[in-house]
Symmetry: none
């Protein structure tokens, strides 16, 4: 049975840019490999959720993997925690966390604590973990720092609720409010109360940590608080194996993408040089993806650089990153026997304003049994002429799995 390779370029879709003569980065990029696949396959445009609805990478990925985010999305916290390698059990509540610099009254001075390094954050995280181990509460707290100022916090125990407010105010110059219950339940009240105690204790540990004392001496901003957000419980997704009978693996630098895929029961293949940024080791990632096709039915290759360039508001860098991806893919087209390939994005990120938008993203599907349409270029506008028409994120997995005979017939 044929295999399936999904190459997902994060934030691939874009809007026209004056600096690119009214073209999008994808229209501007020289990408003969992607255009070849488009010419030989079928194309279309895809709304991750629905026309005009901007989605996050979390909800976008859920949808494209076939999980209705309106039903299955339980917040970003648990997806990040899963992606960071933590195990979540039913009932646990997980948060995304930032190391931040806050004033005495918890006014947020710097949401990224002076762009603290991954190594420094790890040392501070270790101190929080030690404190947590001895922290006196009805709940257990587990903390893990991940990349730079980012981390995850998991609360475990009976009677937790994810109905608690964000502490991170998402911007600077305003106070970080202590967590409050978002519903009038004893569980939410208890969760908020214990979380507040933990955050205040963590602040004490951080303020007095030698590394922060040193930073202040040097005139750097101390990472003197952790600010959680995105509380959520473990989503209960039927796995891809249950739904389609396939083995599957994700290759992604970022924790979130690994997390969504882990929630779907996929394996995670770590590529140590995959950074989830513009300077990632694309060659190593593509090698890992093509190697994985030998043993897995479905390989999901996530590439972040397109989104990063968009958030940096740099259309030219986005175009040239697409060209790099194209070179890697093109060099391996000959190896695509008995593989159905899908290239698409999880949402549109404008490289003009750096924000996610609800415009559809282009999608191409190539391989044995795929109807060939007349479209010969892979971009937001050309693909709108394709024979796939305009589909939704939730359709993508069914369409791909049906091409390889993995979708059960409805009726007789």
């Amino acid at each position: 049975m044929s295999k399936v390779l999904i190459v997902l370029l994060d934030g691939l879709g874009d809007r026209p840019s004056r600096s690119l003569n009214g073209m999008t980065p994808l229209q501007m990029a020289h990408k003969p490999g992607l255009d070849e696949l488009a010419a030989e396959g079928i194309t279309g445009i895809m709304d991750p959720v629905a026309p005009g609805i901007p989605v996050g990478s979390d909800t976008g990925h859920l949808s494209i993997l076939g999980y209705d985010p309106y039903r299955y999305y339980t917040g970003r916290g648990p997806l990040e925690a899963l992606g960071a390698g933590m195990d979540l059990r039913p009932g646990d509540v997980a948060f995304r966390v930032n190391f931040a610099t806050v004033g005495d009254d918890w006014t947020v001075i710097d949401r990224r604590a002076g762009r603290i390094s991954t190594e420094e954050a790890r040392a501070l995280g270790e101190a929080i973990r030690e404190m947590a181990a001895g922290f006196d509460s009805e709940f257990r707290f587990e903390f893990l720092s991940t990349v730079e100022h980012r981390g995850v916090l998991v609360m475990r125990g009976d009677g937790l609720s994810d109905e608690v407010t964000d502490v991170d105010p998402h911007r600077e110059g305003v106070k970080a409010e202590m967590p409050r219950p978002r519903s009038q339940t004893p569980e939410a009240e208890r969760t908020a109360r214990e979380l507040e105690r933990f955050l205040r204790r963590a602040r004490e540990v951080l303020e007095s940590h030698p590394l922060n004392v040193e930073r202040v001496k040097k005139g750097l901003r101390p990472a003197n608080a952790i600010l959680p957000r995105g509380a959520g419980k473990m989503p209960k997704l039927p796995s891809l194996r249950e739904r389609f009978g396939v083995s599957s693996v994700v290759i992604a630098g970022g924790a979130l993408y690994r997390g969504v895929c882990r929630a779907a029961g996929m394996d995670v293949r770590i590529v140590p040089t995959a950074t989830g940024t513009l300077n990632t080791d694309l060659n190593a990632k593509f090698n890992a993806a093509f190697e994985s096709l030998r043993t897995y039915d479905l390989v999901f290759l996530h590439i972040k650089g397109t989104d990063t360039a968009s958030h940096d508001r740099n259309p030219a860098v986005k175009a040239s990153f697409i060209e790099k991806v194209d070179r890697e893919l093109r060099a391996r087209i000959d190896q695509l026997q008995d593989v159905v390939v899908c290239v698409t994005g999880d949402h549109t990120t404008s490289s003009i304003d750096g924000r996610h938008h609800g415009d559809p993203v282009p999608i191409l599907i190539w391989g044995e049994g795929v109807r060939r349409d007349k479209v010969v270029r892979f971009d937001e506008v050309s693909c709108a002429d394709g024979a796939l028409g305009r589909i939704r994120g939730l359709d993508v997995m069914n369409v791909l799995m049906d091409l390889v005979g993995r979708v059960e017939m409805f009726g007789e």
Copy 2:
């Protein structure tokens, strides 16, 4: 008011075939009549249920007639029984049945009982009907043989359940398991128990039937058991007359298609030479359809050969059958005054692997008041350029009925 003619080519959609230079049978076929209608009308692609979801002929037809199969589909049994001409009342449970050859332990040796003829099956069916008339049970059993090894069985009475397992294992070399309740209700248990008694009694009748004794003597496989599957109760559909105020009729060789249409309250016009296979009398069917347009508001002409050729994995035969259909239609285009014509399929059946798939099917609509788009060819890829875009099966009947002014306005 204009009439509506639907020409439904079963399993019309297909995938590209190497033996047809990468084209589908519909792309390959010479079909000037269909292309003319496409050129003068509007075209699109249609997902019987949703992108990537393969459907059966039962669920596909329900959807295209405007009945959401997720809501209305109750199994194939009752649709086949209706199509065979049996009357179903609320509470009845109907099954599809095969005459089969089974071993002493009910291992299935031949699911089609040595391809028993319709005539022989009728004689055996008569014996089962006689037995059923005197069968001592709280339920009544009615049996009818239809075409070759096929038949239908209906159980009538109070307290029946359609929550019973298939007896037909759908393949040979494995045991046919006696019916079991699929839910823990007294009704399901009672239904399964009485059905088992009936099947065992039917086996006794069949084993000793002179016709089977004779078959064994001749070295032929006896039709020594009946194997039911697809238990279901009568679906409760609002009729097309209730929904749109139209009189309607179906012309179809196969029982299933007649059954779905009867469930929708349509009349059935029998064309004795319509066989539901590749050698059907297309001329007689088209004559009957055009004649029916004089007296009915809506005529549904079902043609099975496209699907048969696909299941036989013969793209060339499919293409040439499409050409035959085209000739019949083309010869009558002049007679299409005040008729809105719709040509489409109920699902994609690949003539490569012989299976149903979730690819969309092309659709064309032609007639007075229909917008004319730029598409001039009727096939899976050309129609994706059409002004209908990509629609769903559930939309089709509304679109057609609205063209003839039969859909009530929503709002004021």
